[in-house]
Every structure is written in C-alpha cells, then in structure tokens.
Symmetry: D3
C-alpha cells in the first residue's frame, strides 16, 4: 500500500516538538552517531517505510534491515541509522510510536488470520472502522501488512446497510436504492437472522454481515442461503465480539470473512527500542 | 483541561467521510431521531465534551448525561442526542472512537492509580510520550481525567536527560547546561544506580527517574538520597515495565511517581454503543 | 449527498480576497441590502446549499428558493439574500463560480441521462475521475444531483484493472489478486474484446468496462456474455468518446452504464447573475 | 509565471488517493517502466512544469519534451517518464487533469487572441475571475501561457467600481475614494454609456470597462473620450458575452482589451493520453 | 478592511496553548468573571474586531467600547468582557499581542501622517513589505486604520521595477514589458536620478519611486518632471531611511507619497492591560 | 535550537507571492546571478539557517558566512547566494524580514544581558510571551541565540500563578494544586510583597516572580527569603517595565532572572541588505 504522506508524518514530529527538543538543545553538542531500531519481541514489521522517511527528512541515513510485512524475530534490527545525534533523538519517539503501533496491529492481525485458517478454510480476517481517531490510514495499512482485509476505509467507500437504516427502509428497498445510487459501490447488509440473510442476497446485495450471531445461527444462515441457491452470489461476513478463543469456531463454518474490531480499537504496541552508539564524550 | 480544538475534531470526520456517508445518502430520507450514547461497561468518562461538540457542529442537539472524569456504570447513558438521523450517523463512528479510546485510557489510569495508592502512599501514576502517533493531546487529556499525571506533553516541555545524553556528557555538566538553558524548565535525570541518583540530586536536578530498577534497587536509591540529605529536594519517579501486578511494590517504597507506558501505548477502548430511536418507517 | 465542508468553502473566499475586497473597502460605507441569485438560463440547481452556507458565514441571511437537484427555469431566483452589502459583494464571485460550475455539471448530466433513457432502457450515465484538479468532491456531488452515477470517487475507492495492469498480469490472475486484497472492493476490468469480457466475468469481476468499442462490438460482447450464462452476474459499462449524438446508440443495446468524461472535464458553467437591491445613496 | 506550490499539487494527489491506489496495490508488483504524456490534439502546452514536479516527487524521472507556452502538434510527446509503474499510475489522472485543463485554457486564450489581432490591432484578450472555485492560480497561469492578460487575480488586487457601487456613490466620488485608499491600486470603472466613460476618465480612473455594449456603443464611447482629450489617459476594456464570432468586431474598434469570461468559466480540457511501456510480464 | 479570518486567529491561540492553559487547569475552578481591556497610553485602536472575535469563539461576551481606527485616550477601556474566567485567561495574551502590535502600528502611522501633512500638503504616508514574517495582513490592516496607504500587499499585487531589474533591462523596455504583461497592474519604477525619473514617466509608468535621495535631489526630479510636462501623469513616491525628523522636509516638496519601512519593521507595541474582576473566592 | 519547520517558512513566501512575483515574471528573463546578504549594522545573527533553507528550496545555492548566534560586524556578508535571479528575488523580502527581525531580537537580548552582567552577577535576561501574534517560535529562538532565557514557550509549558488566580485561591492552595496537577511542571508565583514571596517559597514553588517592585522592594524580598532559609530553594525573577537604564540596578541585587517584555513586543529589525551581482544585460 502506498506510504503515508510525508506531510502527515512531519506533523507528528511537529506536535511532539513544537519548540524543538530542549534536552538536546540544552545538553548536547551535535555529533554524528550510529543507532539501530530493534524489536524486543517477535512480530510482523509495519511502519518501517514511514520511520525511515522521517529520519531521512532530518538528515539521518536510514537503512531498512527488514521490509514492512516481514516476520521479525525478537532482538532483530529493523532499521540502521547514521547521522546527527540530535536528528536521531528528535525523531526517536515518533518513530517508535509509529512502528510500535503499526507492528502491533500487523502482528495481531496475523495471529488472528492464522487462527482463522487453522482448520484449512480460506477465510479472511478483516478490520473495522473502529480505529484510533484520525488514524484510519495507518491502521488500515497495518492490517494489510498483517495479511488482513482492510474492509471499508471510510463512510464514502461502500454501502453498509445496518439496523438503523433497516428500521426505516425494508431490506429489498434499501438494496435497490443503494444500487441506484451507484453501480460502483459494494452493497452489504447487516442482518440478524437467516431469513434476513436470504432476503438480502435475493435483493442483490454483494455481501451480508451476520452480526452477533452464535456459530449455530451462522450455520443456519449459511444453510438457508445454500438452499435458496444464493450462496455463491454473496460473500458472507461474521462479526460481533469475536476473540482469539472463538474465531476458529466461526471460521470453520465456511464464511468468507471474520471481522474483528479489536484489531484496531484495542492495540497493544509491539515492544521496540532505539539504541544509540558511537558518539564519544569529548575529552 | 481545555478541549481539543474543533478544527481537529472536524478533520477526524472529514477523513472518515471524504465524500459523505454514501449509505445514508443512498438509502435514507433525512428525518429527526433521538439517540443515546451508552457505556456497555463501567469506566471513567472521557471525550464526552469533544463528542458533544462534534454532534452539535452537525446540527444535532447533544446533552451531556455525565461529565468527563465521572465514573460511569455499565449501561448508563452518557450523551443524549436529538436531531437529523444523517447527522447522527455521520458522526457516530468518530464519536465512538474518540470516547472509546479516551475513556479506555482514563479508566486504566484510574485503576493503576488505585493500585498505587492501595497502601496509603500519596504516590501518583504518570503517563509517558508513548502515545498513538499524533494523539498526544487526546491521550494526555484522558490521563488527566483518569487522575494521572500527564508527564511531559512534548520534547519542548521539559528537560529529561537520558542514557544517550549521559554517554556524552557527565551528569553534573548535563544538569548545569540544562539550568543554563532556561530557569523555567523542570530538569529530570534518568539514572540506573543509587550513586547516579545522588549525583543528579546534588547537581540540582528537580527530578530523578529510576529506570528499570528492582524494588530493592529503588529502595537503595531512596536510602542513599535520604542519607545525603537530598530526599526532600528532589522528586523521585520510577519506570520500566511496571504492570498492575508490580505497581504496588514500587508505590509502597515512598517514591513520588510511577510512570507507566502502557497507559497510552497499549489502549483497550471502552465498550460503548450508540442507539438510534424514533424515526418511523414511512408508509 | 453531504455538503462540502465549510472550511473548504471559506478557503475559496480567502484565496479570492487575501487582503479583503479593496473596492468595497475603498468606496463603500457598509449598509444593509437585499440581493438575489438568479438563473439566466434553465438548468438543474447544484451548489445552492454551499453558497447559502458561505453567505451565512459572513452574516448575510440566505434563503433558498430552490433545492439542489431541482430543475429551475430561466429567470428564476434560487437564493434570496439580506444583509451587509460588503458581505454580499465579498462572497458574490465565489458563490457564482460554485453554483455556476456545479449547476452546469448537473444540467449536462441530466441531459445525457435523458438521452440515454430516451429508448426506455434503465441505463445510467456515469462520471469519471476526469475532473478539474482537486474538485472531485464538488464535481461528483453535482453529477449525483443531475441524476448521474458518480463512479469511483478516488483511486482508493474500488479496483479498476486497465490495459496497463493487464500488460503485466493476465485477467484471471488480476481479478483473483483484487478479490484477495479485499472482499469489500468492487472489481471492474477494462476490456477491448468480447472474449476478454467473458474472461473477466468468469473470473468473478463485478463489472466490465467495454472501452472504445463500436456499438457492434458492444453488442457482440453482450451476446457472448449471455451465451456464457454470465450476463446477470456482471454489470456492463461502456465508455470512450461517447457524445450526446452517440449515447442513444449505446444505451439502446442493454448496457448498465455509459460513462462520459466530458461531464466533468469540459464543463460549461450555467449562466447566473447576482443582483443587489435596496441600499440607497446617502444624501 | 512562478509555478504552483508543490504542497498544493500534492494535495490534489492526496485527495485522489486518500488510501492509496488500491488497484496497483492489489494487482501489481512494482517495476520500472517508461511512459509518455502525449497530446491527442494540437494546442498550447500548460501545466507541464507542475506535472513534472509531481512525478518527480513520487520518484519518477520526468523529462520535458515541450515547454509551457509552446504550441504542440497532435500526437507529440510532451513529457517522457521513467520510473516505478506504481508511481506513474498514482499520479497519472491528476497530471492529466492538470495539463488537460491548463492546456485547454491556454489554447482557447491563444485562439481568441489570434482572432482579436486578426485585423492588426494591438488589442489584448483578458480573463476574468470567473474560474473554477479555488483554481484561480492555475487558471490565471494558463491564460498567461496562452498569451492573455490575467486581469485581477483577486478582490485584493485592484479596484473595480461596478454598478452595485455606483448605485450608492457617484463616479467622481468613487474614483476619489479609490485613489485615497491607496496610490498603488489600479482603478477601473465599469460603465454603460459614453457619458459615464468620459466622467470616469475625467475623474482620474486608470481604466474604463465598457460593459455589455454593442460595437456601435463602444465606438461612441471611444469617440467621446477622444473628443474630450482623454483617450490616451485611460485604458479601455470591453466585456460582456463576447464570443469567437464577435470578438473581431470589438477588437477592430481600437479598444485596449477584450475580456472573455468563457476562457476560464467554461473550459474544454485538451485531449491527452498517458501511455505506459516496457515493464514485462513475469514468466 | 475585511477582518482577519477566524481560522488564522484561532491558530494563534492554538500555538500559545497546544495542551491548554495548565495554570488555569491546575489552579482554578471555572467561574464567570468580568474583565476589561484598557489602553495604558493614548493611541489609535486596531485589532479590536479580531480580539472580540477570538473571545467570542471561546464563549466570552465581548463588547467593543471603541472602534478600530478611533483615537483612544490613556486609561480608556476598549473592550468589555463577560464570561468564563478560563476563556478570558486562555485568550488574554494572544489578544494583547494582537491589539498591542496593531495599535502600535496604527498609532505610529498616524503620527507620521500628521507630521507629513503639517505643512498643509495632501501627501500620504505609505507602508512597505518590511513586515514581521507572515504578518503582512495584520500589519497592512493596521496601517490602513492609522490613515496610511498600504502600498503593495504582496509581490503579486503590482509591478515595482528596481535596480536589480534595471541592471538587466533598460527602463523603457522594462516598462513596456510590464504593460504587456497586464494592463491591470500598476507599474512603478525605482530611480536614483532626475533623468531616470523623466525616462520612467515618459515610458508610461504610473508611479516613480525616488529612492534614497536628498530633499534637493527630490526637488530636482520634481522640477525635471514638470519641465517635461509629465508631472501630472505620474505619482511620485519618496523613500529611504525617512524618519519623524526628516519626513516634513520631503513632504513639503510636493511629492504624493512618503513610504516608511519603520512603520512595520520596527514596531513598538502599544501598552495595554487586561483586568479581571468579579469572580469571588470560594469560602 | 531546532530550526523552524520548512512548511512554515514556505507559507511566508506563499503569502507574499500568492500569484508569483509579477515584476520578475513581466520584466526578467531568468538568468543565474550571485548575491549576498549583508548586515548594515553590527549585531547578533539569527534566522540565517531559516533563510538559507528557503533559498535552497527555490534552487538557489546558499552558503552561510556566519552562524546563528555569531556577533557580526557592520558590512559583513552573512549569506552568499548563487542561482536563478528569479528565485533570489522571490525569496528576498521574506528572508530579509526573517533575518532582520530575529537578529534584531537577538541583538537586543545580548545588549540587555551584557548590561545585566556588567556588575559581575550571574543573572540571566529572559523573554516573555509578549511576541508578535503567532511568532512565538521565531522570537524565542532569537532570544536563545542572543543568550537569553526563553521563559515559558506557551501556556501549556509551565504553571505561572498570577494575581487573577490569587484573587480566587490563596497562594498555598494554588501551589498545592499546581503540584498535584503534575510533578513535571515548573511552578512559579507572581507576588507583589516580600511576605508573599516567603509564602510562595514555603509552599514549595520553584520560582517567584517579583512584579513591578522597586529595587528596594526586591531587596526586601531577597532578605526575607534568606532569613527564612528559603533563598536557595527558589529561583527569583523580577519583571515589570525594566529598561536598559534600570536593568543594572535590579541585576546587582542578586536575583536569578530579569524578564523584559520589550525583547519581543517592541522589536527593531536589524538593518540588512541583499545585493545582486552578475547577471549581465543581454546585447
């Protein structure tokens, strides 16, 4: 996926240092140093391209030792830096926050994906729009790097007809209006029963979202779709409080996607460190 | 704390709907509805003022049923809305992401703070700059609402002399330079031994950060500071991988602050829901 | 469709008056006036909501006399204004440029749509991404108001596999990769022969774009899709230099969409005027 | 004229690809390619410097084969590209929209200018502020490249006293106030009769705009100015619905400028194409 | 003159309080208070409209007790405030900086203007582009309020041909090119001798700038222009290190304008104070 | 101190040339030239790094002949330029405004600092937040380069309890609340009597600001603090209308800081010039 625009990355640094780094300004002469960014735990790398671009902007040579999307072992160096110690320290925290969050998301996504496919099904794990405010772009990129499906990027991306809409408009009419709005938008309907799933598929929806159902309920919906000869016309997604413990049960039923809000709404940053070497104390 | 500027909040919505909400545009006539934002689990409210400002901008009346900083029970309504269903649905996800993240941080902070003070010590829990990229302002406000200490907001805020600086400049000289830079900046030194702590205090630092020490090491440093008659001249902070399980052991030693990166780098959003009522299906 | 954000509209005025309106500043006392925005030729109104919001921001009461999407007769008033003559004159040109362009696009779209449906087919007219630089949002909204299909808003919206991609990756593999990228993206393939159209449909594409074909070529492709039992699984779009003179021939063949770059790349602004009344010359 | 700032050009791309180009991300490996931007019809080149700067920002080498302002034949290559196929495809549409619109404006301007001077008069063709919303900078630059006069860039640029002002303040007083406001602003008065033209010139205006007059009316005004000995003290502009058919009649009368709103309010983009070569399909 | 856009004013506050006003947040409950902005020395008011808009944005009622451009006595109240003490204190410094600088400029401009006209000449005092970086809009507005001429707002505003240009192009050719560029731009030539002044006027310049000349040199140039019958075709400006002590000598010679860089490059803020009343200490 | 972000510097140029430099566009062919930036009076250099970055952005090679913070003699060259004459002239005024203002501030700061230390005391001169609106970053950097103390950068930086706060909350309680808000914020109290100074120090403030006191009053406060054994626990600042004439009297009393609003609220720009050489007139 295309990188995050540099202007946005620079804004992160500007917010973290509106009047510069007073510690370096006060304490350090500027010197050249070497430094490395290392993973303290294993995980999927994400955000390295962005971190490297940031360091480079501040005149620090940044060499990637891993590529975004790679699985990295604990202790491995992912970025080697060479340049002004002030530049390195100015960017340090922003880079760690960026790589830590994005790698955390990518790693969790990969773990869920592995669990989902443990039974051999070609099911995919998808994210939701439950991201940190304003961080949809970073979070969706991290999900992609972890092997997940990014789902809708924004409200403008595709049509997702939910209970609030269906309280006002019947399924068939809602799908018809969505198609009439634009032929280019994927149309998905969120349903709570097998019957609604069949109605959505029959109305021509591209996808159906089985929300907050038990595995038995999901199975019932899949059977109903198959019986109606509609299973191959529609992609089936399940969602609703699915965890690492329960994802296998859903994935094994033959759905196409399992979406998991926790991938991006409850992120644990990967444990990283930046180590500086080389500049020697003046005599 | 002052609210997050409206322009920033609006940018969150614009990023989530660059070409509007195509589902509402396609499916719904616009109507007036009622809606509520409810907590599905107990926690400390944060971000409600921001969410209310966002809804109000889009013409939806928003009445606070709780104040940021309040402890809210599971099931309680925190915000009551009245207005255009399109406006409500446009802002819904951004508001949930905002309140969910901020309340998650505030709730975790309050839990750590309670654990730290369980032994009766007046110790405080502090955040770090390990936030989601660009979200320092929201995250620090949430920490304050949870009863925590926000620590440095940015690199421009105060002087924190770390190992990378001390590799180049001795403690005494570093503190002297920091004071000479500005009389207005708090000067803190990160140390790893009791001896370094005493040197930092003697050099005139305002604070000392005991990093990655065992409780025994912390105790040794506190004794050394007391023996040198320096304990009341310096504020003592401990940090480094402190968890809910270990915070009590550190807090009981008589330190002033315990800082915890996890408050903001590994956030679990509080579980919330927005429920829409009232607009009736047209005949 | 949701309105264009006010900050964006204000930027238009700021660019047109970086140091204010020197004519009003030099020549006029400020007074209250009445004014009207009138169409000098018939057309579909678009941009009125945006114009009204702009005037209101500068303290001028703006009353809509028509709704965006309405067909308006030549001579009709669409907006009635009451307020400071300086405010009216400051916003005048920006408002006229906005309403003129958007109404021009909406009117042309409606004309093409009428021609396409003249034969009774339910075919839709669609726009492309050939807009004025940076004006995609305004232009797409205008197309919607004119009864057109907005097509992809951006490159992030959906997958459109073109000749440049197919030079590198066979159709079947390209569609497979697109589906694997995300289940939520509409997948369309641009083809030049009936055979390619069948391959794309068989591979599972949602849409096929018959590019620069003659009507006979289009008919051949439709027959081939029908023979293969794929016609109802895929939406068929035609494009490539289609004009008011030729759209009927394509629309009559039974395609789903006809996309027309000229709707937004070669816009004729509707002819409008703003007339000021009422402020009297001082004695 | 100075180029359009890069930040503005980058914003065009960011709006067209907020979450990247999903087609390339899904379908293509990244490879190096060659590409050319070609004119499909003859015209005056404009926007090439901006397009080249955009490609270069995304790491694509861009070599100008024509200079902005040049007349280019149908079929000619104006820009040769070498670099990442993903970079080329990301920027493609924005570059085509930019060059297409600007070259369309420049070409139309040059055509009007040639018609105006067909009779041998040194008359100039000028644009107005009737541009696409927010695109004044691009549109005015294109007019200059086409050999036109850009007229006022903004409301802050110069004083143009129109009917709405003259309804409140007599010509003589309005010109006096304009001069008193600033000695540095060109002062122009829009008039509808020969008598008003003489009054404006006598009051010291720099320019007079004869609005919506017939050629006979214009001639009468020119004679009146000459009789009063004021013709060489004032520049005379005509405007109001002037077309390619009528411009010759006005230009032949000896006016200094003919301004034409259609140059920028009703733009036909020049027909261009971007062709990609060279990256080979993997075996 | 039109006010400074609110978004710009809000940016001033955001820069001064990126994480809020920690003193109020720490120390104060929020209460309602009264406050006044008072001039501690006499001067011309400027910036009051902007200050009032800022307070109003933060929910503080702001009543103007003087109008921008008024002469205000020492001790007079210019703005009365009523509202949240936190809002008042948040905006206080930004408002004082704004009003202090703008009123300082307006007051100095008025003083120079009075000195220039002391001899009864209708000469005007003008500013230059020597402003604080980025503050041209505020500074030029203040000059206008002080009764000065704002001169060119920007490099895009008008043509000013200086020594650096004349080293490359002769006066006559430079003026010809400037006229050919646009009929709408005022053309001024900076000269150093009477002969050059005559050449500039003869070539058709609108204005001539006599730079760094003695009063005798200026007189010589005026005589030369008069002798050539060109004095009434050109506006004459003098500039170059003119002070309050010397302005009278130049103004008395019959020039049209005296421009003074010090008006905006060396500003003394007017002495102001904001006094808070009313909120009572809690028992 | 870290440099001012380039995006901010570019905004200064964009504001000064929204439609380019029409004089160069009209009059000059583009050629290569040499140019120098020279000080016309002696002073402390500041803003050179920023000016060099701006020229470099526009393709002009810029070589520093002095370093920010250096004392420069009258007549000395501080920046040598080589490149497009259009680039040089486009940036000229912005660069002069930037370097002129910043060097003016740095020079004044150094002069005050020398006066303060004339008696051999290690006292420092500090700035305040009385800057030009929005220019805090530039102004504080200039103060640092002149050898001054920047004081609080913003309202978020540190706690400064003033009369308006003390009218509502007693000193002891205010200091307690400030400490409870955050252990990381320097806490300063503004007082008007010796007794209040002692109360602030006893309450644990880091700094006390003796505001608008006579030298005798300051001395009394210092004695009171010493008698109470608190002098070495608190840093003492004086402020309030201190001038070059009076600073020595305060500095000699043994205070730690003297803060002077005039450093940044009433700036005299240093006198600079940019001279262009070398491009020859075409034959």
């Amino acid at each position: 996926m295309t990188g995050v625009p540099l202007t946005r990355l620079l804004a992160f640094v500007a917010e973290d240092a509106p009047f510069g780094d007073v510690t370096s300004d006060a304490v350090l002469d500027d010197r050249v140093c070497s430094a490395v960014l290392r993973f303290r735990e294993a995980g999927i790398a994400a955000g390295l391209a962005e971190a490297a671009a940031l360091f480079a902007h501040y005149g620090v040579d940044a060499t990637l030792r891993a590529t975004d999307g790679d699985r990295v072992e604990a202790g491995a160096t992912v970025l080697a830096l060479e340049g002004s110690v002030r530049g390195v320290l100015l960017v340090e925290r922003t880079a760690l926050n960026l790589v830590g969050r994005m790698s955390g998301i990518a790693t969790t996504t990969a773990r869920y994906a592995a669990l989902a496919r443990a039974g051999g099904q070609p099911v995919r794990v998808a994210a939701t729009r439950k991201t940190a405010p304003g961080l949809g772009l970073l979070d969706k990129k991290a999900v992609l790097l972890g092997g997940g499906d990014p789902h809708r990027f924004t409200l403008s991306d595709g049509v997702l007809i939910k209970d609030n809409h269906l309280a006002l408009v019947p399924i068939e009419e809602a799908v018809r209006r969505a198609r009439a709005f634009s032929a280019y938008k994927t149309v998905e309907v969120e349903v709570e029963t097998a019957d609604e799933a069949v109605r959505a598929a029959r109305a021509g929806a591209d996808m159906v979202l089985l929300d907050n159902m038990t595995p038995a309920g999901v199975e019932e919906a899949l059977v109903a779709l198959a019986s109606a000869g509609l299973r191959d016309r529609i992609r089936v997604e399940v969602s609703g409080g699915i965890t690492e413990a329960t994802i296998g049960a859903y994935a094994g039923l033959g759905v196409d996607l399992v979406s998991v809000g926790a991938l991006t709404h409850s992120v644990r940053s990967l444990d990283l460190t930046l180590e500086v070497f080389g500049p020697q104390q003046a005599d």
